[in-house]
Symmetry: C2
Subunit: 247 residues, 2 copies
DNA sequence: ATATAAGATTACGTTACGTCACTTTCAAGT
DNA sequence: ACTTGAAAGTGACGTAACGTAATCTTATAT
């Protein structure tokens, strides 16, 4: 028989926890001294370890109490239920992770994020429903829809998206140098190569894409990555210079 | 200006929630009627959507309150912190998932799981520390240690493990037929083929493995999948028959 | 004017303890 | 036997984000 302090030293749980387990009748002490001090034996240590283990699996104390007291507890059902719950949680966590990474991506572009911008994003995330697909189907045909998936997605951290985003960041950085500056022209060049590489030389597709891009409302409805108007203008202007030089 | 009921209809949150948000001063109504009924405007709807969005990212209300009120809130730091937290949670969830799957695997073998068995498992899980590696390194050399990783692991659901486990289940099922019965001999045959396939013809390795297997304490220290003594005996006996027949 | 729906306030319940505040018991030294 | 300091006890409040219930008041439709 050991004291409560000894028990906590051996198991790492707190005194308060042991008293709580006693209170809810999950793990009462083996006995008490005349003065009322709790005394524990080996059996309680074992049970405490079982409790700790089950707790680490995410079970709640009330469930653990049932498991350990009910002699005919169906472990298979219990464990399967818990697994289902955990799998759901996992999905939720993964979704949050993707969204957070997406937000951090956009932060690279908008280096000052204010609430109006957050608001735009919220609308984007909340409009991720059938509506988007309706517009998507309206503007693009079968083959083009596959290409759309290669566009940078806000909630993605794949290299493609990151590359496009870095171009936008650079554009913003050198905006003040003008659309015909070597810096901007260099970026446009890279973007052009990347686009050809990814989508092929598909003028019709590009034109449609650009038409939508130039309309903020359509972009939003389509679930496109939000790009500010002045950057869009810059791209258009710089692209004119770039094409003239090539021909 | 709309009533609280109208707001909840439009946004899906509960009346209680709105009153609570008012109480903690996160989202007070735009105004009140003479009678004291809360009235909300478009601005509040927007803010409520922001709150819902941030809540879906796992932020707590007190944090959201700060984010939305502090004009100079550093979104990058905030989002990064949250991402770190989420990544930690993800690791925890994945660990739980693995353990639960492992437990469910063992359930297939021990179709009646009592507390003594859970206890064995707890010891196994809790001894997953340096101790294990010390013993591992003591008994096996470099090349053999690689082979060890191909043994069935309790917390894994890869096909290898599942196959070994199914053999053990079958052995248990046909135990009563005797070590020399065709059923048992068939299983031993499959196990033999699988072993050769996985580990090659490595007699020294097998002997060491078997030596440890026959000692429950060593098995435990090594973190091996716990197999009952009578099944071990059955395997040994059946193996003798099998070898005699082959030669 | 009245019935009824909608709204307000107040307060307790939830989880698994942490953290006081205050009192009592234990074990050891004198 | 007496003292004393450490350890232990009990009781209470706080936590997060509401759900739920009880009771009272206001708004609205007939």
């Amino acid at each position: 028989m050991i004291s409560i302090k000894e028990l906590t030293k051996q198991t790492g749980v707190s005194v308060r926890t042991m008293r709580y387990y006693d209170e809810i009748n999950l793990l009462p002490p083996a006995g008490k001294t005349e003065g009322g001090h709790r005394l524990y034996s080996e059996k309680e240590i074992k049970k405490l370890q079982e409790i700790q283990f089950l707790k680490s699996l995410g079970f709640r104390l009330i469930e653990i109490k049932e498991m350990l007291s009910d002699k005919n507890w169906d472990w298979e059902i219990g464990l399967k239920n818990q697994l289902n719950y955990i799998l759901q949680e996992k999905q939720r966590i993964i979704q949050i992770e993707k969204t957070l990474k997406g937000l951090l991506n956009t932060l690279k572009i908008e280096n000052s994020v204010d609430l109006t911008y957050i608001n735009k994003l919220i609308q984007l995330y909340q409009s991720k429903n059938e509506q988007q697909n309706i517009f998507r189907d309206k503007y693009f045909h079968q083959g083009e829809r596959k290409l759309l998936n290669k566009l940078p997605k806000m909630d993605s951290d794949d290299p493609h998206s990151l590359e496009w985003i870095s171009y936008l960041v650079d554009l913003k950085k050198f905006k003040h140098k003008g659309a015909n500056s070597p810096e901007i022209q260099q970026i446009i060049h890279c973007m052009y190569e990347k686009a050809i590489d990814t989508f092929g030389e598909n003028d019709d597709f590009f034109n449609k894409l650009w038409e939508i891009r130039k309309s903020p409302e359509k972009s939003t409805k389509m679930g496109f990555y939000p790009i500010e108007q002045d950057i869009l203008n810059l791209i258009e202007e710089a692209w004119d210079f770039y094409e003239n030089k090539r021909h």
